[in-house]
Amino acid sequence: MSRSFYLGVDLGGTQLRMAAVTADGQLASEMLSVPTGRDFGPKDLEGHLADLTSRVRSHAGDGVAALGFGSAGVIHPGPLTQSDNLPRLNGVDLEVLVKRVTDCPMRIENDARCFALAEQRFGAGRGTEHLCGITLGTGVGCGIVIGGRLHRGSTSEAGEVWRIPLRGEPLERSVSGAGVVKAYRAAGGAAPEGVDAAGVAERAGQGEAAAQAAWRSFGEDVAFLCECALSLIDPDRIVLGGSIAKARQLFEPALHGVLEDRASRIVWAELGPAAGVIGAAALNIP
């Protein structure tokens, strides 16, 4: 008689988010969130996870079928590796930790793959067979859906696009929040300590030329990444999301300028900040 809910957890470089999700991808509870960051460690995760789980369960009732967990980093069985934005979680076996805290059957997947899965099933990629989801935020992530299923690759490292070389360094040095600030400085912008991508966006909105140039450069670099994905995967759509996608109007013209007729295949995420949580839950939704 009780409806089934799927818990979704999204552990990112700035936020830990959680909600209950219905089988058709709708939020069934309020989305709860707490901040994370470079100092966020396993004890923080345990504490917040226990707290969030009990709060979500009180919203959604007892019909929780399973928990899906999206995390930054490369997800292999065993300890987390290559989590550059949450370095204190490297070496932590998230599956063991989450099972101990929540006592729920669980699946874990890279957060960008959760984003791609959510948008493919319930968002801007509905009805597509092949899709790339790219998250633009603290770092850059990429989830790939091939034939309606998440593509993981032979060592679970498919979509590690942040390493793609651009101007002799990993693309993530440019396609990230820090990359926007770097481009702003390179364009002659006066960026005191603590200025972030949002700050550069604000200055661009006020008409500052260096800030606008930084976003143009960012748009071209995102186009470079899209070109790479288009030539390899030939997806029906590329869905762009993540916190920096909010500054879309500042870099979309440059992105389209580079992609020309292929720009029609670039769409924007529809599920907003909930995409990661919905995608994590979707790992268990049949």
């Binding site: 092949h130 034939g147 651009l166 390899l232 030939d234």
Partner: protein
């Protein structure tokens, strides 16, 4: 098809494999023996009881053809239903004529190879044409071909060749065929997620994901010749100058070696590598820069797809060890745990073998369908007479 196996078998083997009843298997094998799809091998030694009758699949019941079109050379071969090659010809790809006359000549070459193999034209069950370009496989249309074969757009290759050969024809991209062939009988056996990268006058990749060829939404997956190599290459002429094919294709390599500029004569690639080996610094730089760009292409493919193996084929990679080592070195700088990177085991015949593989699959599928109709009718009759339910 439980009887489509390499070793001889008995009716009892078929019953075990299919869970069909003895009378059904008896009727089926009788009909297949009559139609020539099975060979009767006579009775084997008794295992206690009646001596079992052995038979085997007749791989020469029908034949297939592969036509692998290259920018300069075209391979044509005929094989039996297991893909065993019976005859093979290599001809210069006719240049400067339109698609229809060219396809007409290739059909002529195919008939000549059939004759050489001693195969009657009505025994040709399927043919596959591999082309260096984008294809719409469902409709059998070549959308656009590699630079050396300009003037091709929306050519209904399957229909034209099919009419000329009197057999159904499938059209497929040559690099896609190459990775299928390498998985079948080359360097990629046992690899479920892998890629073939062709580096020659054109550059392209064939990608297999979880055992299936990945074609993409517009049959353009793996068209890495168009991969952007960085905004510094672009200036105002995006795509025409900054993509992998223009920078690392044969023309790109030639552009870095002054001695090649007199014209791309036959054998200049070998001459370039000889010059580098003899200490020509410009030749060495041209090779290393080209290998570096291809290495970045391999690295980008690896980061997106994560294959367990990348097979390299085409004129540049065939020049051997140093070039491939340089590619590996660049990949290892970008990817922390790179996949195995090897040179094609099938060389210039990789796509041709892919044609034969796909053609045998097509031919077997058609045989199965025609048998399926026949055996279904038999099954119905059997059920009517015995009252058995399926």
């Amino acid at each position: 098809m439980a009887m489509d196996r390499t070793e001889p078998f008995t009716r009892a083997d078929v019953m075990t494999a299919t869970a069909l009843s003895a009378p059904t298997v008896g009727t089926l094998t009788q009909s297949l023996l009559q139609r020539g799809l099975l060979h009767d091998l006579g009775a084997g030694p008794s295992r206690g009881g009646r001596r079992p009758a052995f038979m085997e699949f007749n791989a020469r019941h029908g034949f297939v053809a592969g036509i692998s079109m290259g920018a300069t050379r075209t391979h044509v071969a005929v094989a039996d239903l297991r893909g065993e090659r019976l005859a093979h010809q290599v001809l210069s790809t006719p240049a400067g004529i339109g698609p229809e006359p060219l396809l007409d000549r290739l059909a002529g070459a195919t008939r000549s190879v059939l004759k050489e193999a001693g195969v009657r034209r009505d025994r040709l069950l399927a043919a596959v044409a591999g082309v260096p370009g984008a294809v719409d496989r469902e409709r059998g249309i070549v959308l656009a071909l590699a630079p050396n074969l300009r003037g091709w757009s929306d050519v209904p290759v399957a229909a034209i060749l099919g009419r000329a050969l009197g057999a159904p024809v499938t059209v497929e991209n040559d690099v896609n065929l190459a990775i299928l062939a390498e998985r079948w009988r080359g360097a990629a056996r046992g690899h479920e997620t892998c890629a073939f990268i062709h580096g020659g006058s054109g550059i392209g990749a064939g990608i297999v994901v979880d055992g299936h060829l990945h074609r993409g939404d517009h049959s353009l997956a793996g068209e890495i010749g168009l991969m952007c190599m960085g905004l510094e290459h672009l200036d105002k002429d995006y795509g025409a100058k900054g993509c992998l094919e223009t920078l690392a294709g044969l023309k790109g390599a030639a552009g870095r070696w002054p001695d090649a500029r007199g014209g791309l004569r036959e054998g200049w690639v070998a001459a370039l590598f000889e010059a580098a080996a003899a200490g020509d610094a410009k030749a060495r730089a041209a090779i290393d820069q080209t290998a570096g760009l291809l290495g970045i292409g391999v690295a980008n493919l690896t980061l997106v797809i994560d294959p367990s193996l990348v097979v390299l084929g085409g004129a540049l990679f065939e020049q051997g060890g140093d070039f491939v080592s340089e590619v590996r070195r660049v990949v290892a700088r970008v990817v922390p745990s790179p996949p195995e990177i090897v040179v094609s085991a099938l060389g210039s015949e990789a796509s041709l073998w892919g044609c034969l593989l796909v053609a045998t699959n097509d031919a077997r599928a058609r045989l199965r369908n025609s048998l399926g109709d026949a055996s279904e009718a038999q099954g119905r009759r059997l059920r009517m007479t015995t009252g058995a339910t399926a």
